[in-house]
Amino acid sequence: MSPLLEARALGKSFLDGGERRVVIDALNVTVGSGEILALVGPSGSGKSTLLNLLAGLQRPDGGSIHLDVGGSVVALQDLGEAQLTRIRRRCVGYVFQFFNLIPTLTVRENVLLPLELNGLMTFAGEALARLTTLGLDHRLDDFPAHLSGGERQRTAIARALAHRPRLVLADEPTGNLDHANAERVVDLLVAQVRSLSCALVLATHSDVIAGRADRILRLDG
């Protein structure tokens, strides 16, 4: 079976006060469809940068990223902004560490947003049912400002999965939660990802959380 995502010889560097700092150097990453991959590494090792490259939010300096978008395989580095945007919209779900939610949309509306963008309102029932599974059924009409940290992250997960993306990218989704809460949120994320059989790339500091993954990729800066 061909992989969902295949990155070869990826490179990314930043200009930092006049000198060039290489953050990612000749990196190969493969993610199978339905596979859960944990990215582990010290702070500053380039986890967030890699996720941004995989989502097409940043462009690599060199190397290739091939993504199976359902039937066809595209090379992200060759695509224009408009095409990248379309792929993100349809095929990718993103969970950030902070500021995941649109502050002016309620929990329900945040989760429905990807469905509306993709014209997939038929999934609405399923997406809202997932909110119940995630224990948010009593907060549907609240705005993000009124939620706890854990509730916000669970809403973000429900939103990232709503449109059944093939690839979910999560950048330390539990970074600001306490241990118990963090594990609960990750367990929910993993369970949901498995039930939809989408792939997940999860950046984390925690070895416990990385242990939930099928495979671990270590970045060491």
């Binding site: 989502a55 939010l57 902004e81 408009a82 945007t85 379309r86 792929i87 993100r88 919209r89 349809r90 990718v92 993103y94 950030f96 500021f99 995941n100 939610l101 649109i102 502050p103 002016t104 949309l105 509306e109 429905l112 947003l113 990807p114 509306e116 963008l117 705005f143």
Partner: protein, 775 residues
């Protein structure tokens, strides 16, 4: 350097776009203050052209029947003895019209040594020479010839009005064929202390002082006429000016609001840092002084920029609307008053506005009672100003109250909109877009408030100018109903009128007489003539005024609470009509000759209206009388008046445009601030695959929503302010009301421009910057 200060300074560098919005906002406010001031001064200068140069400093003209030179010397003696303390100067005037080889010319003789400033250089005028205006088309050393006698032009001076020459008394007497005792009027300068105050006010708020009525001055045994009423188009000009001045002061308030808005937005963008510092134990005092000093520092820099751009803007606008080179009057150069006013506004409002903003944003709310008391108080002030008093100050208070109430309505309106927005249906992108707009009603309210006021001011100016123009034409039609007007300066023109009527080519002579009288303790001017249908039509009556009836000026009607059909107390005539009385200094009452006889008024006529095919013939006849008489030709007066007013109204177009530019840039600034606040959302949308086009659509929709709101609020407010200016303030300041008659195009042009600009603004790129401070 202290770390706290360092963090403040770094914020400026790390958030360059936020810093730019602050600088832009303050610079814009300051440049609008400067530009409005400069353009108003240009209007003042252009209207000053209405005033003949030799009357520049003069406040009143006095005369009495049979006036001769020795009367002047006697009056001057009394003044020198200190009996006439209100006077600072007096000057004899000889006036008349004469037929020359260049057509009919009015001649004014003045005494250059009397101490009243006349035309510059007149003191060095050799006898027998004259000063001409540029429109007379004679060069220096050329001559005007009267009969066989040439009079050499010694200067051409631009302040001498069309069709007039100025010279010394002796030469004027010679030119007019009069003896050396002849004298027509005495020009006086009265009330120095109040006038100095007026002059200061004028420098600070050009135009506004035109509405200040200095208390009437009387001289027993003499007729005292303020220069205004001697020159009705001047009174009209003052009214235009005054209204512009009033609107200029609104522009100042708009500018202040803009500065305040900047303070609020900036504070909002630094909220997280301030909260963290507060949590670390930094006191409010320290935080506030840091915030205020950086705001004032930026404000100072921005104000400097604003002064320069304001001046450039005024010149560019005035050039754009008048066409390069069309207008003889340049925008005056910057003076200390306007620079001081602009800088003081910027610094003081930065301090006060920043202080209030800090208090509102970061300290616990206080005074909910005040929140209710304030609007109620404003409402009371407005009602009292309109209905409870007759004073000009009351009317101003009413306009201010209307503006404040309009602004106060914005916050609740936005809060209502926010409640609606949290429940609204429709696309989620749109929902989030609209909600973002109203999420912080406080911030937006200030921005919208400034825009509403700017747009409303621009609508009010446009409506007022339109109404003035149509009223001005109506005034000219009323005043200039005959080809020629002859003013006898107190002489009885009864016989002259009969003689003129017999001349070939004269189709009509209308004789006017009158005198001042006191009615119920009020001074008023009573005029009489033989009213027929045509004469009555001048004052808006459909048929001839009958014996037993009278027409009163609006001011008299208001002072005596008269309406059509009422009987005038003491004289018993029935009011058949009310006319505006544009520019009349005192209330007026017009009646038929027969009633004047019945009331025992002396039947003297000192004014004639003449319709004649060949006016120069009449002038020749008048000359033969050997007495000085002022003749006004309808076409000359009309052309001159219209030219000046067209110029003025054109410059006013620049003011309208300026208000719109301020509104547009203010809108951009407000939207830029909103956009900067939305960057995290933007980032999320990017990650979710929302395209740039979709986001631009949302932005455009949001901008249009703000604009629609602004227009909806500004349109009624602007019309209301225009109506108050025309129908309350003008009558109180000048005695006649202007019918509010704005053309549809005039009102909708600002609205269309505002909408168009908002569409454009939403297409402008939104810069991105890493601001760690957005929650």
């Amino acid at each position: 350097m202290r770390l706290l200060t360092l963090s403040q300074l770094r914020h400026l560098r790390f958030a360059p776009w936020s810093t730019l919005t602050v600088v832009l906002g303050i610079a814009l406010a300051v440049s609008s203050i400067v530009a409005v001031h400069q353009i108003s001064r240009q209007v003042v200068v252009s209207l000053a052209d209405v005033m003949p140069a030799y009357l520049d400093d003069v406040s009143d003209l006095v005369d009495r029947p049979g006036l001769v030179m020795s009367d002047y010397f006697e009056l001057r003696e009394r003044w020198r003895r200190g009996e006439l303390a209100q006077l600072v100067g007096l000057m004899p005037l000889v006036e008349g019209s004469v037929l020359t080889d260049r057509g009919v010319i009015s001649v004014v003789g003045v005494d250059a040594f009397s101490g009243v400033r006349a035309v510059a250089g007149l003191a060095f005028l050799p006898p027998g020479t004259i000063v001409a205006g540029p429109s007379l088309d004679v060069a220096v050393d050329e001559s005007l010839t009267i009969g066989d006698v040439p009079y050499r032009v010694a200067f051409v001076h631009e302040t001498v009005p069309a069709g007039m020459v100025v010279t010394d008394i002796g030469t004027a007497q010679m030119m007019l064929g009069r003896d050396d005792e002849a004298l027509d009027r005495i020009a006086v300068v009265a009330e120095p202390s109040l006038r100095r105050l007026e002059a200061w006010g004028e420098r600070l708020m050009p135009g506004l002082s035109a509405g200040l009525r200095l208390p009437a001055w009387t001289l027993p045994g003499w007729r005292v006429q303020p220069v205004d009423s001697a020159l009705p188009d001047l009174a009209f000009a003052r009214s235009v000016l005054f209204n512009l001045g009033a609107l200029g002061s609104l522009a100042l308030v708009v500018a202040w609001l803009l500065v305040y808005q900047v303070g609020v937005i900036w504070l909002r963008r630094r909220a997280l840092t301030l909260t963290r510092l507060e949590q670390m134990g930094v006191s409010h005092r320290e935080l506030r002084s840091g915030f205020l000093s950086s705001l004032v520092g930026l404000g100072g820099v921005a104000a400097g920029v604003g002064v320069v751009t304001g001046d450039i803007l005024a010149r560019a606008l005035s050039r754009a609307v008048t066409g390069y080179g069309n207008l003889g009057i340049p925008v005056p150069s910057l003076d200390g008053w306007v620079v001081g006013k602009a800088l003081a506004s910027a610094v003081l409002v930065c301090l006060a506005g920043g202080w209030v903003a800090y208090r509102r944003e970061r300290l616990p709310a206080s005074g909910t009672l005040l929140r209710w008391l304030f609007p109620c108080g404003m409402f009371a002030v407005g009602t009292y100003g309109l209905a409870g008093t007759d004073s000009l100050l009351g009317a101003f208070a009413a306009v201010a109250a209307v503006a404040v109430l309009g602004l106060l309505a914005i916050s609740p309106a936005l809060r209502g909109l926010k409640r609606y927005a949290t429940r609204m249906k429709g696309g989620l992108l749109l929902r989030s877009g609209v909600r973002e707009l109203v999420w912080y009603p406080g911030d937006l309210a200030v921005a919208v408030g400034a825009l509403v006021l700017a747009l409303a001011t621009s609508i009010a100016i446009a409506a007022m100018v339109d109404s003035f123009r149509s009223d001005f034409e109506r005034m000219l039609d009323q005043r200039l109903a005959y080809d020629l007007f002859v003013d006898g300066g107190g002489r009885d023109l009864d016989n002259l009128g009969r003689e003129l009527a017999d001349l070939a080519g004269v189709t009509r002579v209308q004789r006017y007489g009158g005198q001042e009288m006191t009615l119920l303790g009020r001074r008023l001017a009573v005029s009489f003539t033989r009213f027929d249908a045509r004469e009555s039509r001048r004052y808006g009556l459909d048929s001839a005024l009958m014996v037993g009836q009278c027409i009163v000026s609006e001011r008299l009607a208001r002072e005596l609470a008269l309406d059509i059909g009422d009987a005038v107390p003491e004289i018993g005539l029935t009011v058949a009509g009310i006319f505006p009385g544009y520019g009349d200094a005192v209330p007026r009452l017009l009646m038929n000759e027969a009633d004047a006889i019945r009331l025992g008024l002396p039947l003297r006529y000192d004014r004639l209206g003449v319709d004649a095919a060949e006016p120069s013939l009449i002038i020749g006849r008048l000359e033969a009388t050997g007495e000085g008489m002022v003749v006004q030709e309808r076409t000359a007066v009309r052309t001159r008046a219209l030219a000046v007013f067209d110029q003025t109204f054109t410059i006013t177009g620049a003011l309208t445009l300026l208000a719109l530019i301020v509104a547009a840039v203010g809108l951009y600034n407000a939207l830029l601030a909103l956009a900067l606040q939305r960057q995290r959302t933007r980032h999320l949308f990017d990650a979710m695959g929302v395209t740039g086009v979709e986001q631009t659509w949302v932005d455009a929709g949001r901008t249009m929503a703000v604009c629609t709101l602004v227009v909806l609020l500004a349109l009624p407010l602007g019309l209301l302010m225009g109506a108050l200016l025309c129908e309350v303030i003008n009558p109180r300041a000048f005695g006649w009301s202007i019918a509010l008659a704005p053309g549809a195009g005039t009102i909708f042009r600002p609205v269309l421009v505002a909408l168009g600009v908002s569409a454009l603004v939403s297409l402008l790129p939104v810069p991105s910057e890493e601001v760690p401070d957005v929650e």
